[in-house]
Symmetry: none
Subunit: 401 residues, 2 copies
Amino acid sequence: MVPLEVLQALAEKTPSKIVLVVVDGLGGLPNPATGLTEMQTARLPNLGALAGKSVCGLIDPVGPGITPGSGAGHLALFGYDPIRFDIGRGALSALGLDFPLQANDVAARMNFCTIDDKGVVSDRRAGRIPTEYNRELVEELRRIKIPGVQLFVETESGHRALVVFRGENLSDKLTDTDPLLVNHPIKEAEPLTPEAKHTADIANTFSREAQRVLKGKHPANAVLLRGFAKHPAIPTFEQLYKLTPAAIASYPMYRGVARLAGMEALTTGSALADELATLRANYANFDFFFLHVKYADTAGEDGDFDRKVRVLEEVDGLIPGILDLKPDVLVVTGDHSTPAPFKSHSWHPVPFLLNSAWCIPDNLPAFNEVAVRAGSLGRFPAVDGMSLMLGYAQKLSRYGA
Amino acid sequence: MVPLEVLQALAEKTPSKIVLVVVDGLGGLPNPATGLTEMQTARLPNLGALAGKSVCGLIDPVGPGITPGSGAGHLALFGYDPIRFDIGRGALSALGLDFPLQANDVAARMNFCTIDDKGVVSDRRAGRIPTEYNRELVEELRRIKIPGVQLFVETESGHRALVVFRGENLSDKLTDTDPLLVNHPIKEAEPLTPEAKHTADIANTFSREAQRVLKGKHPANAVLLRGFAKHPAIPTFEQLYKLTPAAIASYPMYRGVARLAGMEALTTGSALADELATLRANYANFDFFFLHVKYADTAGEDGDFDRKVRVLEEVDGLIPGILDLKPDVLVVTGDHSTPAPFKSHSWHPVPFLLNSAWCIPDNLPAFNEVAVRAGSLGRFPAVDGMSLMLGYAQKLSRYGA
């Protein structure tokens, strides 16, 4: 890994343009019936042809054997080592909702849950209540008053919401109230440093008040708080790479991570054709584009092999339109694997393809988990992807005399 | 490399089981007569079939070009970076002899040597005296008395022995007395910190007393002290990975390193069939097994190409019995290469094979130094093997939000 400080010293502003296509949950596993992965099953003529003219490899987003969360997977692709830049869940939720988190705020992910008469959690997701009902409950929780702090509660979706405490001397060094297991009581938030005692008291007061307000509701009669976090201060793409970056993503979470890196989150529809139109309309105004394709991950999480195959085929259809723009560097990869047979994010390495006029082509016959093994990039940490993109885009000056 | 602190935070106790087979000195070099390595020459039908269904690669135990000692090679496979966890030679000698090193002890490797009338070293190994003669000399050295410390001297083998000083306020921050070159005098042990002055005085007194006691003996008339070390405190598999590990190894040194990592060193015969029987008998009681095969290394050190081939074929015969136990993860690798044509440990990378139900198979036709180059794991630091094993065994929770 090239240290960010070194990239920063070498980075130069140039007219060249980079397009990074992140297919969320790209990597898969063989379908037991055929022995072929989703990528091997899909008809990907454009990606296959591109692989022949590109350099390819396999990335480990966080490290070998480690299953990445979506935030960590994206940070790695943006060049931020996710182990050095460990962004709390609360901050990611706030970013995802466009909540203007201030320096003094502490945010937490808040999940509605179901507790029994004795306060024991029977469902950590309150039967995945609909978002509309979530909004009604959030209205009620907003009436809670805690002396000395200002309180914000925001609906995310389903059973998920955000709570933000604003006040003096707040700390995010707290443990979660989520027991992580059913049939266990809601935990107290515990301070991890003496300075965090005050914030732990506030979090525990909120947790109790929420139970009082929600008493008698069903199935959401309590809340679990996870990932207390302040606003993460990370250097931006402009500061690090001298890039003027834009994000084309419709899901709040990815727009949030992109904004954290200093990207402008463009207004876009969520269909792939909309995203391509957004790219085209804004192509003159930026020199780095992060284009996010959500639905491969969703299909993988649902265990729907065929739907994931169809999403990949849709992505393939996007390629000619992107190539028409003649980007200096085009990368197609994923933030992690979400194999449909595994129905979840996994630790498997993710295919990575980089196309530029300056490639010695790997001449691979296809773009999938198996074909890219023979690629010249080998297996490498995802965080190296950023220096590769900058290098092939001729945005890095020579290192050393 | 994933920091141990991160693995520790992600590790979860689960019922899945991992079997790590370490073939000591596994990697080899081509036989000049055939151009084939020991692994390529051996008939390995079971390992070949397994490679077809597994993910493979090449590991560097310490780093590219670095020849590992056995302790370092094993520590790396257990996930401990051998550069961070630099276990002193004295401590490894003590572990290897099952010497119960206490927290206050300082141990050193002691080599018998030959000095001339002027105290200049003429042979650093005293003509590699036989072990039996070593024992006689050790008996004599045990009569040395040094005020304020208790002294232990133990035969290892050949010219090699262990000395342990037990007492208050001892330090291992000392330089060696071994000049490392012949025709140089024995050195004084020098303290590297002010606190180590007392221990340096003790070591130098012992060095002089040993010359007095051995005066007139031939060829072993003095001793060289190397690698002063206290008991290394390293976090255990239980603390780091939430594993309940067992070691199946008959040689004291490997049992010692395994115990250092908190493994239970099971009683076992030294034949491979005995080791398999031990694995079978204890399979229900642990979730991680380190099974050590010594004799490939011995044959390599002896330069006996054909005998190393036969040992590898014996290991191949072990595989069906291990697979019968249906481990969730099976790894076959080595702690370093010991090519028979080289007659010594070497720096060559070592083949690594990982089998689990969650592999995208590499479809390799064989398991050897050349075939595994096409494997999806690529070439990687051995210390990453542990996060891969934990990942494929689904013992790591998701990293980040």
